[in-house]
């Protein structure tokens, strides 16, 4: 028997473990365990009182058995007894048992809590730490109820030992995560923040995890931590490698603490205080510089620790997204790692660059590495690295390199690992659509996709190509020709047959002039694939055939014969049989006119979010879709297909069906919310359910400039409604969060941030309940005070868990300066007098813009009234014009505003002029209003 343990060995335990290891079979092991269980049971039940040592030994054996994967249904009581032993070693085993076999056994939990209570008040630091560990390990609600108020006291008490402080901080963090409602901050907030200044590095390291978590939830209350964190970081970064003694890890000063400080800073925007910000930028520069220095040790631990700090610093730089110099430097540094000999670094560099690609400052810099990344995709031995390379190519893709990237991804697909093929297919399909300048390239790409990786082409992908071909008449002929050629291949994928059947059924006539693709040749080609296809494909082909009868009367006899044969008309599949019978009858009874009407070409599909994108989001899990596509969408929308030549706001048209005649009632394109936008590209501007926090969703924002109530946001999961009221410089906003699913949202938190110079003061009355049941709606009230005029809107960040996945969403709250208007009635004469008084050039803001909506008088009036000003009649000599007056009430001052709106119905244009006593207000109102009419 090897390795006699140090401390006090439990010989019996070692013998038992040894026995188990010697068992030749699973059966033998179970037999030995049952024997031991019987033995322990009899000892526990025996008349003789067991001494502490034996009790400890048996409890430890039970623990071992449990950890082997067997159930344990007794011994808990003995373990609880050990807790109150005054022998450390027995107590320790007791706590270990309880921690591992957490079992909300309600009778025992009271006893356990009692023992913990005693140990917490024992003033013996080792006992206190054991007790705190147990609370953190179990972390149950009962424990939170019992100790949540006690632990903060221990944490900040002056006479608490450092080791106990560390345990208390992390124990509190654990309780806060499981039962945030029970952990009340308040009077100890500032003392906890000041733990960042503690002399003991271990205390700071433990406390910062707690502070980071609390800051994420209550950024305002903890914002003093920013300057403390910066100065602590600065001291560490500038220290020599030996200054911090044992907190130096392989010549790197305090890597864990440094990373945690950098992580904490990522909870906040860049520091407003210039000095603090300067110090921080200096730190970041030092970190970037140090990364370039020659290594102080050859050990991998040294480079790992050093680079961990570098990556964390880069994350912070990306988070701020405001220092172009640092961003570009970060990108260059990562560029070096792309070719590093350490696989780990290549992996992380690719991952980190993905986020850099979404910043407008560094997007171009990232793009310069395209060849290296393509090379990584081709040559990396490790599939997880290749996957990151594919992600990065996707993230760095834009109009300039789309063809190259798509081509590379396609060629990689031929040899790609099975595990990532489906995702690659989706990405290629999305990029091809998003950056398609000419649609023949798009069609080629998708057909290639089907050819290369047909099995991984999900329905969404081929539905989409059909939608696009249907909607764009300039590509239909090309598509028909291309699928016809693709179908010539002796073995072609069933997905190809589906696309081919659909497209030839619709547009086969466009290539029928060529004798090589005459109607009969087309039909024979399709029908040669028929017997190898699955039922749904055959059903689709039957529909294509009936379409052929309409398009090419000369094929009628041949096709009717096919429909009439037993294998169709008596097919055992009811769907196929029904189609065959109905189509046969239809073709024989109906006149050509009727046939032509019934089998008319499909109407254009309504535009909506690409179902492919929705699928990718779902596949990667919410939050995992890179920020780029959302932001890219904003950057790009309006370029391609900008005018929306065929894009209709067609939310009410019936959902498209992949089936020609719509016999199947399925609506294959997922029920993503219809975006009322132009063509293809616009789908990306819709921040879906997984909007990362970086992308702010302001879709709803502008709709609320002239109204106070309505739905601000809605996706598949969540609906957010708003009701608000304003009086003078005060406002109150009711937010209603509705869970549209049948599943509970957990850890539901909302935070309101006022970015930049925003002065409108938001006093959040109280946090929302952390759980939102399926189908339930919860309410939150925000009290708003306008201190001075402002332009930015407050941001509402919502986080919750749906299923296992964290959802993170940021919305602009529609609090705009005009909400604080008081209408002012005045006569024509007064109006013009004041108008002249406000004649300095900067007091006036003017915009001429095209009408976005109808120029209906009543609608315009309603909007102006909704704006909050008084609409003045008989002021303007031209009765077509609108004139308004009002005063904006802020706490610090009142701002008088006059407005004139001149419509030109003929040109469908407006001229909007604002004159206000404060120039920033004129400008802001003008911006807001120009998008309303």
């Amino acid at each position: 028997m090897p390795a006699v343990s140090k401390g006090d060995g439990m010989r019996g335990l070692a013998v038992f473990i040894s026995d188990i290891r010697n068992c030749k079979s699973k059966e033998a092991e179970i037999k030995r365990i049952n024997k031991e269980l019987a033995n322990i049971r009899s000892k526990f039940k025996g008349d003789k009182a067991l001494d502490g040592y034996s009790k400890k030994k048996y409890v430890c054996k039970l623990l071992f058995i449990f950890l082997l994967g067997h159930d344990i249904d007794f011994g808990h009581m003995e373990a609880v007894n050990l807790l109150s032993s005054n022998k450390y070693t027995e107590k320790q085993i007791g706590y270990l048992f309880i921690s591992v076999l957490v079992n909300s056994n309600s009778e025992l939990i009271r006893l356990i809590n009692n023992a913990i209570k005693n140990d917490l008040s024992s003033r013996n630091p080792t006992f206190m730490c054991l007790a705190l560990h147990c609370i953190a390990n179990v972390g149950s609600r009962e424990m939170a109820e019992a100790f949540a108020s006690e632990i903060p006291r221990i944490l900040v008490a002056g006479d608490t030992m450092d080791s106990v402080k560390q345990s208390a901080a992390l124990c509190l963090l654990r309780l806060y995560k499981t039962s945030p409602d029970l952990v009340l901050m308040g009077e100890w907030t500032s003392r906890v923040v000041h733990l960042l200044n503690d002399q003991h590095m271990g205390v700071v390291t433990a406390a910062i995890s707690l502070i980071t978590c609390l800051s994420q939830k209550n950024p305002d209350e903890f914002k003093t931590c920013v300057s403390l964190a910066v100065s602590r970081l600065s001291r560490i970064v500038s220290s020599a490698s030996t200054d911090l003694q044992d907190y130096t890890y392989y010549f790197v000063p305090a890597p864990w603490l440094s990373c945690k400080l950098l992580r904490l800073l990522q909870c906040y925007p860049p520091p407003e205080d210039g000095a603090v910000k300067g110090r921080l930028v200096e730190c970041l520069e030092t970190i970037l510089n140090k990364a370039q220095e020659p290594p102080k040790s050859k050990k991998v631990q040294h480079s790992n620790a050093k680079n961990a700090i570098l990556f964390e610093a880069i994350s912070l730089i990306i988070h701020y997204d405001s220092e172009p110099n640092l961003l570009v430097r970060a990108c260059n540094q990562l560029g070096q790692f792309l070719q590093h000999r350490e696989t780990n670094l290549r992996y992380l560099a690719l991952e980190s660059m993905c986020t850099l690609a979404s910043s407008e400052f560094s997007h171009e810099a990232v793009k310069t590495h395209i060849e290296t990344v393509i090379n990584a995709l081709k040559t990396e031995r490790d599939v997880s690295v290749r996957q990151r390379a594919a992600d990065l190519l996707y993230a760095m893709c834009d109009r300039s390199n789309a063809k190259q990237i798509v081509a590379e991804m396609l060629s990689y697909l031929e040899t790609a690992d099975y595990s990532i093929r489906e995702e690659m297919v989706l990405k290629v399909a999305i990029l091809a659509e998003k950056y398609a300048v000419d649609y023949s390239w798009y069609v080629d790409t998708i057909l290639n996709l089907i050819r290369i990786a047909g099995d991984y082409v999900s329905e969404e992908v081929w539905y989409r190509v059909i939608q696009i071909v249907i909607n764009r008449d300039d590509v239909q002929g090309y598509a028909a020709k291309t699928v016809f050629e693709a179908l010539q291949a002796p073995a072609c994928h069933e997905n190809m047959v589906k696309v081919g059947g659909y497209i030839l059924g619709e547009f086969g006539n466009l290539i029928a002039g060529d004798p090589r693709s005459s109607p009969l040749v087309q039909f024979n080609l399709l029908h040669s694939k028929f017997h190898l296809c699955s039922v749904p494909t055959r059903a689709l082909l039957l529909s294509a055939y009936i379409k052929f009868i309409n398009l090419f009367p000369e094929t009628k006899a041949t096709i009717q014969e096919v429909l009439r044969c037993d294998s169709q008309i008596r097919n055992s599949d009811v769907e196929l049989q029904q189609r065959a019978v109905e189509y046969l009858k239809l073709s024989s009874i109906a006149s050509t006119d009727v046939l032509a009407t019934v089998l008319e070409e499909m109407p254009p599909f309504p535009e909506r979010e690409s179902s492919i994108l929705a699928k990718l989001k779902k596949k990667k899990g919410p939050g995992a879709v890179s920020v780029t596509e959302l932001e890219d969408g904003k950057r790009e929308s309006g370029e391609l297909n900008g005018g929306g030549d065929r894009g209709q706001d067609a939310a009410s048209t019936p959902s498209p069906s992949a089936d020609l005649l719509g016999i199947r009632s399925s609506a294959p394109v997922s029920a993503a919310p219809a975006s009322a936008g132009s063509l293809l590209v616009d789908v990306f501007s819709e921040a879906g359910p997984a909007a990362p926090s970086g992308a702010v969703n302001d879709d709803g924002f502008l709709r609320f400039v002239c109204k106070n109530n309505g739905v601000l946001f809605e996706n598949q999961l969540l609906q957010i409604g708003i009701k608000s009221e304003y009086r003078q410089n005060l406002g109150r906003m009711y937010l209603f969060y509705g869970n549209k699913t049948s599943v509970q949202f957990a850890s539901f938190t909302t935070t309101v941030n006022c970015p930049g110079e925003l002065q409108s003061h938001i006093l959040q009355s109280k946090p929302v309940e952390p759980l939102v049941e399926g189908g339930a709606q919860i309410q939150q009230v925000l009290n708003i005070e306008c201190l001075t005029d402002f332009s930015d809107a407050p941001l509402l960040n919502i986080k919750f868990r749906y299923g296992g996945a964290l959802q993170n969403l940021t919305l602009k709250l529609p609090v705009t300066i005009n909400k604080f208007f008081q209408p002012t009635e005045m006569a024509s004469q007064d109006f013009f007098q004041r108008w002249k008084q406000l004649s300095q050039p900067q007091q006036e803001a003017q915009k001429i813009f095209k009408a976005n909506h109808g120029m209906d008088t009543e609608v315009i009036k309603a909007k102006l009234l909704g704006l909050g000003m008084a609409l003045l009649d008989n002021v303007d000599p031209n009765p077509e014009n609108y004139v308004c007056a009002g005063v904006i009430q802020t706490k610090s001052q009142q701002v008088g505003c006059l407005l004139r709106l001149e419509p030109n119905a003929q040109a469908q244009m407006y001229r909007l002029t604002l004159r206000c006593s404060k120039d920033s207000v004129s400008k802001r109102l003008c911006e807001l209003l120009a998008q309303q009419f």
Binding site: I17, H133, S140, R174, N344, L348, R381, S384, V385
Partner: protein, 156 residues
């Protein structure tokens, strides 16, 4: 934060499991199975990181043992790797050239050492000296078994 730490052998036998959040035994078994298959299937000299559901999996092999850490998305992979390394160093210091058998026969010690180092899925103390001292002093308590001793020393 960290969600779990697993130690298993090349044959996929679990040697230590530490869970930092409350999850059901069934779920634990599922994770253990998935981790061992996933990690053991990795060819040598590939990178030490994997994505699994919403977690980052960081693993490293030391002799016959695999150390596997499941961390949340915001954690730094390289430091997670060093957490593993520091734990190995602590085990090594305590057992002196630690081997798999030490952990099998003294599993409770392996847990105690881990508890001094990590807590609630966060790092509690990074200093090797301090952790070692804490473990040594608790061993002294085991040998003497005079728990009052510490009390006297500190507050007497």
């Amino acid at each position: 934060m960290m969600r779990f730490m697993l130690l298993f052998s090349r044959q996929g036998r679990l040697r230590l499991q530490k869970w930092f959040t409350a999850i059901s035994e069934r779920e634990k078994k599922k994770i253990i199975r998935e981790m061992t298959t996933m990690v053991l299937a990795r060819p040598p000299r590939t990178c030490n990181f994997l994505r699994w559901k919403d977690l980052k999996i960081v693993y490293k092999r030391y002799a016959s043992l695999y150390f596997c850490l499941g961390v949340e998305d915001e954690e730094n992979e390289l430091l997670a790797l060093e957490i593993i390394h520091r734990y190995v160093e602590l085990l090594d210091k305590y057992f002196g050239n630690v081997c798999e058998l030490d952990i099998i026969f003294n599993f409770e010690k392996a847990y105690f050492i881990l508890d001094e180092f990590l807590m609630g899925g966060e790092i509690q103390e990074t200093s090797k000296q301090i952790v070692n001292r804490a473990i040594e002093s608790s061993d002294m308590l085991q040998e003497d078994d005079h728990s009052e001793w510490y009390d006297v020393e500190l507050f007497g």
